[in-house]
Amino acid sequence: MAKKRTVRTIPQQRTPVREQDPRERATNFAEVNCGYSEAEALLESQRCLFCADPVCIAGCPVGINIPDFIERIGAKDFRGAYDAIGRTNLLPAVCGRVCPQETQCEGECTVGDSLEPVAIGRLERFVGDRAIAEGWANLPHIEPAGRRVGIVGSGPAGMACAADMAKAGCDVTVFEAFHEPGGVLRYGIPDFRLPNEVIDAEIANLRRLGVKFQCNTLVGRLFTIAQMIDEMGFDAVFIGTGAGYPAMLGIPGDSLNGVLSANELLTRCNLMRARDFPAYDTPIPLGRHVAVVGAGNTAMDAMRVSLRLGAQNVTCVYRRSKAECPARAEETHHAEQEGVVFKWLTAPLEILGDDKGNVRGMRCITMMLGEPDKSGRARPVPVAGSEHEIDCDQVVFAIGTNANPVIGQTSRLRLDKRGYIETDADLATSMAGVFAGGDIVTGAATVIEAMGAGRKAARNMKAYLGIREPGCDLAAATIFGIQASERNFARILSA
């Protein structure tokens, strides 16, 4: 850089990204956000100030060196940018699309104090897509560590953990209950937000690192966690199964035909390709008037999928206001653009059925915001006498998940009182050698948080297995009077 950039000298406007027209895209499953072109990425890269104290990095759950990769984009060194991201994040094409950047890196960005923040997510995606197009992969020299690691669940937590353990030289096998790997990236997030080709490319990268994927395997029931350690020869196990047990509201009428969880709708549509029924055998309920309860990312996905499946109108029913809506800003914006009607401060009381047991409407009540609750958000309070009916023939619950019971039923792992796996700060569970992370520990969270947990568990698994981090020298100059240079520790390998 010849001259130091300041907020005044950089391009003032955030470079817009091309998107499919809302009316057109609401009828197809092609990606909404077209991504930056090279010229657009170069332009946006000019907006980074390369702060002395890069606060954006602190905002990233996996600590990507953001100014470094943006600087390389600016120098048209896209491969270098990919390598810079790849040091901490294996899946830039995924994270650039699904991270809630506005509350992470972009939320911290200094430019954001006076202008719109640097579009870090779009830049990351640009680099990730370029890598897929060019077939780049970060294949470090891997020295076999003689350790076997089993990973339960092939979602973001499992993938991130698998990548780190494979790079550390472990023989890694990932077990997945579905017939295809990817977890929530595959069954949950729709193609118009995260195309399958992106997931395939990232999984291919893991395979190149030597990671093996074993689908159709329900760990706990086909074999237990204890058997993995005791009988199958795994030296360490990571559990990243996700929360995976959708919450239902428990209001009258919630077993009517036409009421389903967002997970079911999305899985049928995305993984099972029910949107192409009858070419694919899985059917999907097609509502004309769809009400989705909840306003998180999953709710937005369910609404936008319903539109694309041909719903005439889709209504979001959320008991708090727009300010408390937990979805990624871009998703809410896209849903609005595509014609979703938002009924903020509205809570369902009862789902109404016709004489055939199908949904014909939903009785709701208007809410107002009261005192903050335990989560710090304003508690919604019903407004007396405000009951009203919404016409709908399908109701989708996207109100979060409870802990999936399978691992708890089949192991002696200590669980917390809600059924989630209990871990210490190092993500170690109550069983030696068994670590856990992601939604099955924290409850429902984001893809990048799950990846962060997978990587954190990997660091601690390496320590548990006695695998040194590359480049990390033992700190003390002398141990028992032996000089660092004279030490000749050999790793103890299992027989």
């Binding site: 096998t173 209950a177 579905f178 017939h179 069954y187 074993q214 689908c215 159709n216 395997t217 329900l218 029931r221 086909l222 074999f223 058997q227 009988e231 199958m232 020869g233 996700g242 995976g244 047990y245 959708p246 239902m248 428990g250 919630d254 077993s255 035909n257 036409g258 389903l260 969880s261 997970n263 079911e264 899985t267 049928r268 099972m272 390709r273 029924f277 009858p278 070419a279 694919y280 055998d281 899985t282 059917p283 999907i284 309920p285 047991g357 999936n404 019971p405 399978v406 039923q409």
Partner: protein, 297 residues
């Protein structure tokens, strides 16, 4: 019975090693899966996808052979998927996906005298339970119900592991004329000390069994097979009502107390894809007439 990595399926698909037809709608598939054969216990089920574009269907495990490394499924051709499988799933063919064993195994408890009731296709999955109770030293009464004598299967297997077998057919063409609930009445009349009744079959049959035992206060367990996608608790499609509780059949079941299950709710929910199922069936039957049936997958 150690689990080892060598047991894990390599390569593509799951091989069908034996196929047997019980009637023109009911067929048996024995599939190679050594690890599942080791893990399977009575009462559990699997999810099958016959081909890449197929749907995931739950099937209760009818038998498992740990020495041979196989699990046995009995299928009734009722819809598009199961009729297509009837054509394509021959010995030597492969299933695209097979995952399990799923669900909580049946509790083979302290019951000393049990009645194992199977209706139609339900005769197959009740078999491993009858055998397990017998091995556990219980007195086992098997009650098998079919529409007519042409549909009867596995009578010999039940005779080998039950102390008594009551065969019922709707038209009286084999065994006694009547429903399995009539068989239960007969068993209750002959034995005042029945500890438990286990019933598997169509919802209407399980409901009838539960109503038959209710006045006698006999514990009655039923195995539910609602519509599922993943079978791991993730989608909630299989939720059933038990009194005022909602349970997921895939991970909280499939066995539940028959006196608590809301069978009417379950029956209604089983019909929710009726239209799509009929459309798929019609479309498939039409294409079938034009193309010769596939023999392998």
């Amino acid at each position: 019975m150690l689990a080892t990595m060598n047991d894990i399926q390599e390569g593509y698909g799951f091989e069908i090693v034996r196929r047997q037809d019980f009637s023109d709608v009911t067929y048996l598939l024995e599939v190679r899966h050594p690890l599942m054969a080791k893990a399977a216990r009575p009462g559990q089920f699997v999810i099958v996808m016959s081909h890449e574009n197929g749907e995931r269907i739950p099937l209760t495990i009818a038998d498992f052979d740990r020495a041979a490394g196989t699990v046995t499924l009995v299928v009734q051709a009722v819809g598009k998927t199961t009729r297509e499988m009837q054509q394509t799933c021959q010995a030597g063919a492969h299933l695209h996906a097979l995952v399990g064993p799923m669900g909580i195994p049946t509790h083979i408890g302290d019951a000393r005298k049990v009645v194992c009731v199977g209706g139609g296709l339900g005769v197959a999955p009740i078999y491993p339970q009858a055998r397990a109770f017998k091995e556990d030293g219980a007195y086992v009464i098997g009650i098998l119900g079919f529409r007519n004598k042409d549909l009867v299967f596995w009578e010999d297997k039940f005779r080998a592991c039950c102390d008594e077998v009551i065969l019922c057919t709707d038209d009286g063409s084999a065994g006694m004329k009547g429903f399995v609930s009539d068989g239960i009445k007969q068993a209750i009349a002959a034995h005042s000390d029945i500890d438990e009744v286990i019933a598997i079959g169509p919802p209407v049959m399980m409901k009838a069994c539960a109503e038959t035992t209710r006045p006698h206060g006999i514990k009655t367990m039923v195995s539910l097979n609602p519509i599922m996608v993943d079978g791991t608790g993730m989608c909630g499609g299989c939720r059933v009502k038990l009194g005022d509780q909602v349970k997921f059949a895939c991970v909280d079941g499939p066995d539940f107390d028959g006196h608590l299950v809301d069978f009417d709710d379950m029956t209604r929910r089983l019909r929710r894809y009726k239209e799509e199922e009929t459309a798929a069936m019609t479309r498939w039957s039409e294409t079938c007439r034009m193309e010769s049936p596939q023999t392998t997958l």
